[in-house]
């Protein structure tokens, strides 16, 4: 294992500033690992060596002349292939768009460039961010994403390549997106710390839209501290994204004051035994951090509302694509008529979902306003095998979870490694907070990682 792989952002920043490694060396190392390890995991769509080395040389020169853009200056990263990038294809994981270049940079790509980060690759993803209804890992033209821990296991989706590339130490961080599970699941399956910010924290300009009201962009990193650093670079107002707010995000310090922690009742009872045991052990750690109280989520049809909204907004966002017949060229057969059902949902049903959503948001905030964070297992099971169909896993009843309610309400959430499950695969704990309580959520996870070492484990690649 390279001495540079698996380093955190602050560690690499210190090494750069001490002259132990240069941004160009870091970029070359990332490109090499992505070419070998990353490609073997189907994590890569396009490497960007010319851009990466140009940005790395610029960072090196600036730092040599005392121009320091902050903690990401000279740090390599990968971006899920749904962010537009000048001169590099942006496929959205979809075979019909494999060679398409959208000649603009997404807002987050611009912001990371301004922060001095070095874009080394566009990373693999499930076609259309999973919106077409895929039911198996083999649902993108780059092949099924493979877990950094065991290549016969799935990397999770839809930010598969972001998960496995960070998990395998190819890049210290990557950008992912989540409409419903697409950051937290691949982060859990690859042993990462992945953060889903509040909807409106990060501009979606230049990112593929699946569901305008549910899509969120977030960092997938080695630690909660790294997530805070990356979020600080990409968050903020953008007049081109009406959901963004005129507020900045400062990377928090670990939460050392005693926290009020809600525990989702029954969340681990039907999970895999190792997930349940790890959650129990995590609760012991959390008792050192604060006062715990078991709670239930307000009784709303969270999954139904989220599912209906995604179907309709996805069908609207992809209407021209659906009518063009290009869907026939998608990889997974079940995706080829994906989202069609959303074209024939009555408008009143969609609006009812949005009306119920507002009431749900109010009920959820009434609950969460009494706490700093709420916790639950991030996923009730470890990464499925590549050949598994999803009905075995995602359609099974694993008990209550935070995913549907959290995404429907646009709430911030972070997943952190908290143990080892079946077949030696990683499992994760989720911390979720109130809207725009991103700092508290990251701070709580940072404190948890001060008290545990699970985030320091990595595969022997």
């Amino acid at each position: 294992v390279s001495s540079l792989a698996y380093r955190t952002v602050p560690e690499l920043g210190r090494m750069i500033r001490c002259g132990e490694v240069s941004p160009v060396q870091l970029a070359e190392e990332a490109l090499d690992r992505l070419e070998t390890v990353g490609r073997s995991l189907n994590a890569v769509v396009t490497l960007a060596p010319d851009l990466a080395l140009e940005q790395a040389r610029q960072a090196e020169e600036e730092l040599a002349h005392g121009v320091d853009r902050g903690p990401l200056h000279g740090i390599p990263y990968g971006a899920k292939d749904l962010f537009a990038t000048v001169g590099i294809p942006t496929s959205w994981g979809m075979a019909p768009h494999q060679r398409r270049v959208i000649d603009e940079d997404a807002a987050v790509i611009e912001r990371l460039r301004e922060a001095g980060a070095v874009l080394v690759a566009k990373l693999a993803m499930v076609e259309g961010a999973g919106g077409f209804g895929y039911e198996q890992p083999n649902a993108t033209f780059t092949g099924p994403g493979r877990s950094a821990w065991k290549s016969e296991a799935w990397a999770g989706g839809s930010s598969s390549g972001s998960g496995s590339a960070v998990g395998a130490g190819c890049v210290p961080f990557a950008l992912g997106t989540e409409t419903w599970g697409s950051i937290l699941i691949p982060s859990a399956f690859n042993g990462l710390t992945g953060f889903r910010p509040t909807h409106g924290m990060v501009s979606r300009r230049g990112a593929m839209a699946l569901s305008w009201t549910l899509d969120k962009i977030g960092p997938m990193c080695r630690t909660a501290q790294d997530c805070g650093i990356v979020l600080a670079a990409i968050a903020g107002f953008d007049s081109a994204d009406p959901s963004t707010r005129r507020e900045w995000f400062e990377p928090p310090r670990p939460a050392h004051t005693r926290l009020r922690i809600a525990v989702l009742r029954g969340a681990a009872e039907r999970a895999q035994p190792e997930v349940g045991a790890a959650f129990g052990a995590s609760l012991d750690i959390l008792r050192q951090m604060g006062d715990l109280e078991e709670v239930d989520l307000p009784g709303f049809p969270w999954e139904d509302a989220a599912g209906l909204i995604i179907s309709v907004e996805g069908a609207a966002a992809f209407e021209d694509f659906l009518r063009s017949g290009e869907g026939e060229r998608l990889t997974a057969p079940e995706d080829r008529m994906g989202l069609w059902e959303g074209l024939v949902v009555p408008a009143v049903d969609y609006l009812r979902a949005l009306r119920v959503r507002r009431k749900g948001m109010q009920a959820m905030d009434d609950l969460l306003s009494r706490f700093d964070v709420i916790v639950a297992p991030a996923v009730g099971f470890v990464a499925p095998l590549i050949e598994d169909r999803f009905d075995t896993w995602f359609d099974a009843d694993w008990g209550p979870s935070l995913g549907a309610a959290g995404n429907l309400c646009g709430l911030p959430s972070i997943g952190v490694p908290n143990g080892v499950g079946e077949r030696g695969l990683p499992i994760a704990l989720e911390f979720m907070g109130r809207a725009f309580g991103d700092g508290q959520v990251v701070a709580a996870a940072m404190r948890y990682q001060e008290l545990t070492q699970w985030h320091e484990r990595h595969p022997a690649r």
Partner: protein, 73 residues
């Protein structure tokens, strides 16, 4: 007519609309999957109707009139 028959008729009607507007050949498996997915959206809408709403319960979207100078060039 039972509730299930009612749902079957709604699925059939939506399927007819789709096959008119998107006239593609579908395999029997694809047709069955499409029926299932349409049925899911009908079930989702039914679950949402269990939540009582009043006339002034607004959707969770904010309509905000726009001035052109607020947009980036």
């Amino acid at each position: 007519m039972t509730l299930d028959e009612d749902v079957d008729q709604v699925i059939a009607a939506r399927l007819t609309e789709l096959r008119t507007t998107l006239p593609r050949a579908l395999t029997s498996d694809q047709l069955a999957l499409l029926r299932r997915r349409i049925g899911q959206t009908i079930g989702q809408a039914a679950a949402l109707r269990a939540i009582a709403l009043t006339n002034d319960d607004e959707p969770a979207t904010v309509f905000r009139p726009l001035r052109s100078e607020e947009r980036q060039p």
